[in-house]
Amino acid sequence: MLSYFLKRLFSLVPLLLGITFISFLIIHLAPGKPSYLKEMNPRISAEAQERLIRLYQLDKPILVQYIHWLKRVIKLDFGNSFADGRKVIVRIRERLPITLLINALSLFFILLFAFPVGIISSLKPNGVFDKCTTLFVFIGFSLPSFYLALLLMLLFGIKLGCLPISGIVSFNHSQLSSGERILDIAKHLILPVSVATFGGLAGFSRYVRANMIEVLKQDYIRTAYAQGIGRGRIVCKFALKNALLPLITILGLSVPGLLGGSVILESVFAIPGMGRLLYEATLSRDYPLIMGGVVIGAVLTLLGNLIADLCYAWADPRIRYQ
């Protein structure tokens, strides 16, 4: 098991190099140039611009730039953002927690709802419950998230006035007691988390449903029924366990989503998260920051895959020897 793990871990290194090199190439070759100017400004002279380019070392050949970058990254130094000169790692660190929180919460709620919905639907496929939930989750999936977000904002934020519509804390947040602060943040998170959950519910619940239907048809389930074991026990103990195994892979795959955040939700709800950060970095061609995002995303995706594989290997020993 350990050797398998080490082997897999080691194989990630060339993959990472590949990812970073290709990204570096695409990012630097893509048309457009670094600019944190939103409008043209005639006070900015051509010499000054040339100087910026030299200071950013953008006049060197791409390979040289890549090696420079790689040397620093090995020392875990992602360099400084072009836009404000701060460390890339600092800029990512201040944005990451909120994105993680929102995505983890919505993943949690997706699972929380998807399981019961999927399982109950699978017990009576095409029953009333199944039909209703199917329609419901499909509507969630089919609405563009920014539209749904705005509808909810209008309803809960303006019409009913019971939920805050933007940001993650209130204006008077710093004056609240610690209990009130948590409540304050929780209130702000309700709308973004609901939109994300609603949108993602369809995928998981349908998946659980399909797997359960499949498993419930297996011989051993029928045997269990024949032995007189209660239905509840069969579903919870035998069927569920087997239906859940493939979910490991899906969870592994959702790791990058946890970090990447969503530009659209973060813009609509004014949440200072990773999605917006990387989007703005891309628009302004803030190369070090984009690369920082790519590396962190890639490492975590690969680790997520690895962990998923390991879980599989642990659950199913045959895989190890392939």
């Binding site: 048309p31 457009g32 140039k33 670094p34 600019s35 944190y36 100017l37 939103k38 409008e39 043209m40 400004n41 005639p42 006070r43 900015i44 002279s45 051509a46 010499e47 000054a48 611009q49 040339e50 100087r51 910026l52 200071l55 836009a83 404000d84 000169g85 701060r86 800029r91 201040e94 944005r95 705005l150 904002m153 209008l154 934020g157 303006i158 006035g161 519509i165 933007s166 940001g167 993650i168 804390v169 204006f171 973060e266 813009s267 609509v268 709800f269 004014a270 949440i271 200072p272 998260g273 917006r276 950060l277 628009l283 302004s284 061609r285």
Partner: protein, 549 residues
């Protein structure tokens, strides 16, 4: 540019002496009707307190004044720092950190006499050292500043004493005065800081507001500086809230969580006329300092011909654009200067919408025949081109769509290509464009040498349309040499007329600025310089204040 917008604060001078009988009269009234005066006092006497919450789409990038190039950064910088000079409510240069200044006869030497007794927000006195330091940083090749250009024309920078500076220029350079609206940075705090990393997020200035905190991606908080040399501002706190989506920004205003945002024309005309808005908010409207235009690549054989550009100017109905895009909230632009600038030439009349004249001019230029689709032909070449503009600007997109339709009517096929900003700059830099729809935000100084002088057509320079006119060149050079405003006015009015005749740009419109502010704020007096110039004199009556300290 919005930096100037905030920098213009004004001294309210106390009106002359009050005569004694009047005082007696007032006192007796006060004794007779105390309650009346108490009320009057509450409503007319500025008082301290409350906070203003400003909503913004963009987040500042850096609070180092000499690096700040985006309008969000300049909003904050303008409140925390002062320049040597500033613009007053009538757009005249007046002293800020400098009490007075002199320009030598030959225009080569400018002497600034600095204000005494000004203190940085950490208590250290402000002196000439700070100005020297700021200058040195501006021209230091290791500083990533975009503003070095104006300051590289300085030959000698002498500190005569703590409060006197003598600056010698290589040539007479009248925009130099405007360049000294550049905010001054504290030498004592930055001498040992290599790259402003800490300062960029914890600035200390001489301005009316002290920096308190910056929560990345969500807000910036400033607090009134008690010892501000022009008097403490009335409003205690200034909170800059960042909401990247226009619709959300508006919803938060509607929820009364924001006090001040800029409206879109649709919001101004259609979405804010309810009783609710009339009761709780005040809308303002004044011409902005900027214009939207189409720049033609004059190296392109199609657009080299002046008649073609003039024809297009006749074919585009600017009034329709103003109606469709701005819902009437703007003016037709007639050249490189806006109506509120002293350089504006009112004698230049905009070309009327006249498609017939446009067709004639095009025919003169050789575009006579039409193909099956109705597109004009010259030989075998179809009159077809692509208009570039940047992503994320709804007005420009709509504007392009209207123009597209109008040009199609006279037989020109125009494609629209919307690309993101970094990409657009790149295409412009490499001159890979035919026409581009953009806007200029203007400084209060009319010098537009960088935009229209024929020597400024290099790769990263701003005469990207490659406009060349000897007479305009000569006038622009002269405009930089002469200091007298009346003489410069004459010069720039000529420039205005010549450029409109040549049509290197198709000048479209000057939009109105459309701020909306919570009704509890008093003391807002719109002038041709907008409303921001006297921000420190804004106040809220005690009974209407929403935020207690």
């Amino acid at each position: 540019m919005r930096a100037d917008f905030w920098r213009k604060k004004r001294f309210v001078k106390l009106r002359g002496l009050v005569r004694r009988p009047l005082i007696f009269f007032i006192l007796s009234l006060f004794l007779l009707f105390p309650s009346f005066f108490l009320y009057a006092q509450e409503d007319n006497q500025p008082c301290y307190g409350d906070a203003i919450i400003v909503g913004s789409i963009g987040e500042p990038i850096t609070l180092v004044p000499i690096l700040a190039a985006d309008s969000a950064s300049q909003d904050i910088v303008g409140l925390v720092f002062n320049g040597l000079l500033k613009y007053d409510k009538d757009i005249n240069l007046v002293g800020d950190l400098a009490e007075d200044w002199e320009v030598s006869e030959d225009g080569l030497v400018i002497t600034f006499y600095l204000r005494k007794g000004v203190k940085w927000q950490d208590g250290v006195p402000f002196t000439a050292e700070d100005v020297l330091f700021t200058y040195k940083k501006l021209v230091d090749p290791h500083t990533k500043t975009p503003y070095s250009g104006d300051f590289e024309r300085i030959k000698k920078f002498e500190v005569i004493d703590d409060y006197t500076i003598k600056i010698t220029y290589k040539q007479p350079f009248s925009p130099a005065l405007a360049s000294w609206t550049m905010p001054i940075m504290p030498s004592h705090l930055l001498k040992n800081e290599e790259d402003f990393k800490h300062f960029a997020r914890h600035p200390v200035g001489t301005g009316p507001y002290r920096f308190i905190k910056w929560e990345t991606g969500s807000k910036i908080v400033l607090e009134a500086y008690d010892e501000y040399f022009q008097g403490r501002p009335y409003i205690d706190r200034y909170i800059y809230y960042i909401i990247p989506d226009q619709s959300t920004l508006f919803l938060e205003l509607k929820n009364r969580n924001l006090d001040y945002i800029s409206l879109t024309p649709l919001q101004y005309q259609r979405q804010t006329n309810t009783e609710f808005f009339k009761k709780n908010f005040r809308k303002y409207r004044y011409l902005s300092f900027g214009y939207t235009y189409i720049g033609w690549n004059l190296n392109n054989p199609k657009f080299k011909d002046k008649r073609v550009r003039q024809a297009i100017n006749y074919a585009i109905d600017k009034e329709e654009i103003i109606k469709g895009v701005l819902l009437g909230l703007g003016r037709v632009c007639t050249g490189p200067f806006v109506p509120n600038s002293w350089a504006y030439n009112p004698a230049v009349k905009p070309a009327e919408y006249n498609p017939e004249k446009a067709r004639q001019l095009l025919a003169l230029a050789g575009w006579k025949k039409k193909d099956k689709e109705g597109i004009l032909l010259k030989g075998n070449e179809r009159f077809e081109f692509t208009l570039l503009t940047n992503q994320g600007n709804v007005s420009r997109r709509k504007c392009a769509e209207i123009i597209q339709q109008k040009l199609r009517e006279i037989g020109i096929k125009m494609h629209i290509k919307i690309v993101e900003w970094g990409c657009l700059l790149d295409l412009i830099e490499r001159r890979e464009f035919e026409a581009v729809l953009l806007g200029w935000g203007l400084s209060r100084d009319p010098d537009c040498y960088d935009i229209f002088h024929s020597s400024k057509t290099g790769p990263r320079e701003f005469n990207f349309v490659s406009y060349k006119n000897k007479e305009v060149d000569r006038l622009l050079e002269e405009g930089r040499r002469v200091f007298s405003q009346s003489k410069r006015k004459e010069i720039y009015q000529k420039v205005h007329k010549l450029i409109y005749e040549d049509q290197p740009y198709t000048f479209l419109y000057v939009p109105d600025a459309l701020p909306i502010i919570d009704a509890r704020f008093r003391g807002i007096e719109p002038t041709i310089n907008g409303i921001g110039y006297n921000f420190i004199k804004w106040w809220v009556p005690k009974d209407k204040q929403r935020f207690k300290r």
